[in-house]
């Protein structure tokens, strides 16, 4: 498998570490249902057979965290995004849970 790091270009699997589902979002610790939300966030996975948005870390490269969209049955990669950009786009700039 080869992943096209937006910074480094296409590199082999052995430069990356996988870190699971990128669709789960860390809940607010102050939420009244935080206990359940954290269980779901930490443990429950859709694990779909089709396309999967997932986190990878370019550990032997530039150390960027990436959001990769990949077919689980085919291993075909349709997009590689910088996780920081994805997170900033999904998160209102003002929001700060502390």
């Amino acid at each position: 498998m080869r992943i096209a790091c937006p910074y480094c270009g296409e590199r082999s699997l052995d430069e990356f570490l996988y870190s699971g589902d990128a669709t789960v979002k860390r809940p607010d610790f102050a939420s009244p249902t935080a206990a359940n939300e954290f269980v779901s966030y930490t443990y429950e996975r859709s694990n779909p057979p089709g396309m999967h948005r997932e986190l990878w870390y370019h550990s032997a490269g530039c150390h960027a965290w990436l959001v990769v969209t990949r077919g689980i049955a085919t291993h075909a990669i349709t997009s590689v995004e910088v996780a920081r950009d994805v997170a900033l786009n999904e998160k209102p700039a003002t929001k700060d849970s502390i």
């Binding site: 699997l13 443990y43 996975r45 859709s46 694990n47 999967h52």
Partner: protein, 419 residues
């Protein structure tokens, strides 16, 4: 003839007439309109469940539904190792029950699955690893399981061809479970299928479950590629596909599917007796009764439903192999393939009710599923029959993640690919 007892006498008798008298090992059953229990998944666990249900909890009308050919999942593509050298109290009694069931399997099934207790040796390479193995060995002994801590000299005597002199990580000793060993993997599925068939279980191949039918909170049957089949109770034993099947019942599981590669070499004259695992890398090896070296290493590390792995992991495994056993350099790899593992969030399995009444789940076997086959079937049958977990499987609850009772042998936390 399908009910023929297998023995040397029946083999001799058949040899005189060109083996024309043998019938099917199991019937090709047609689905009936309804059953007391439907087991989804004709792998080792599903077939074992059906067998123990029929044997200990009958009379019950039982069907096993398999989307392809039986034994095509984990039981058909693993590295054949059986052992009960676990660390945690949630696991040891379960895997020890499995070990005991393996030990009696051939007579229980009248099928020789070649349960071969030639030992499982886990090497240690540091004082810290030695002490961790001592802790494990002591835990096993407290549970009445055999365990021996070997020093370097004893390991040398057992496996003199390891790299004691020139290793990157010195071999200091090993934890040995003599009762561990290997089993002829495919034969487990066939043996359970034949024995379950003889107890009246319908084994239905090429029958894929496409949905669950519910009335209210209760399951009443399954939709399949061969039509609707009613069921009072449904047990899922579809590791590798658990999330997909559970999704049909609206469940999200603490499971990711990962690919684990396995390898076999060309057939060579046996020189490795038992199973050896390398404690300083991801490598374990045994040699089959046919002469092939059977070995493996770490997961590829990413979610996958494709039954194949990638080259970097192949290289990683063989680097471990050559670090441990430099005499195998000129032996050739014949085949490598990938199996799909239900990797759970703590590395331990799930045998439990689901929130849907009448639907039971047996999942999350990680790469420990093969050795667990008999106990998994035994305990799952118990759960389905009595609605209560079997004593040795009571830790395998679905809600343990919510309550903080993870069974984390490796201490890796909620990272399935690290277990």
């Amino acid at each position: 003839m399908s009910r023929a007892h297998y023995s040397i006498f029946s083999v001799l008798r058949e040899s005189l007439r060109g083996h024309t008298g043998w019938g099917p090992a199991w019937r090709e059953a047609e689905p009936k309109p309804d059953y007391d229990v439907v087991i989804v998944g004709g792998g080792g666990h599903g077939l074992a469940t059906a067998f123990y249900l029929a044997k200990h909890h009958g009379p019950l009308r039982i069907a096993v539904l398999e989307k392809g050919w039986i034994g095509g999942g984990n039981v058909g593509r693993n590295t054949t190792i059986v052992r009960s050298n676990y660390l945690l109290p949630g696991n040891i009694p379960f895997y020890e029950l499995s070990m005991q069931l393996w030990e009696g399997l051939e007579h229980e099934l009248n099928y020789n699955a070649m349960v071969s207790q030639r030992g499982v040796l886990n090497l240690y390479h540091s004082d810290g690893q030695r002490d961790a193995f001592a802790r494990r060995g002591n835990a096993m002994r407290l549970h009445g399981v055999d365990a021996e801590l070997l020093d370097q000299a004893a390991v040398r005597k057992m496996v003199p061809f390891l790299n004691f002199e020139n290793g990157r990580f010195p071999i200091h000793g090993g934890l040995l479970q003599r009762r561990g060993g290997t089993v002829r993997h495919d034969a487990v599925a066939w043996g359970y299928a034949r024995a379950a068939d003889r107890l009246g279980v319908d084994i239905i191949q090429n029958c894929e479950v496409k949905g669950f039918k519910r009335e209210g909170d209760r399951i009443v049957g399954v939709e399949t590629t061969r039509g609707y089949i009613g069921a009072k109770k449904v047990g899922m034993a579809v590791a590798g596909s658990s999330s997909r099947v559970a999704a049909m019942a609206g469940l999200r599981l603490p499971i990711e599917s990962h690919v684990l590669q396995a390898f076999v070499s060309e057939s060579i004259k046996p020189f490795i007796d038992g199973v050896v695992t390398f404690g300083a890398g991801h490598f374990y090896i045994s040699q089959s009764d046919k002469g092939g070296l059977v070995f493996g290493g770490d997961l590829d590390g990413y979610n996958s439903y494709a039954q194949r792995g990638n080259l970097p992991v192949v290289e990683d495994v063989l680097e471990g192999g050559m670090a441990l056993m430099p005499r195998i350099g000129r032996v050739r790899m014949l085949r490598h393939w990938g199996g799909i593992m239900d990797m759970s969030m703590d590395g331990s399995p799930i045998i439990d009710h689901t929130p849907v009444s009448g639907l039971y789940i047996n999942a999350g076997w990680c790469y420990g599923g093969f050795k667990a086959t008999p106990a998994s079937g035994f305990c799952f049958a118990h759960l389905i029959a009595h609605d209560q977990p079997h004593a040795v499987a009571k830790a395998y609850r679905l809600d343990r993640f919510a309550t903080g009772h993870a069974i984390d042998e490796k201490g890796m936390g909620p990272h399935p690919n690290l277990h």
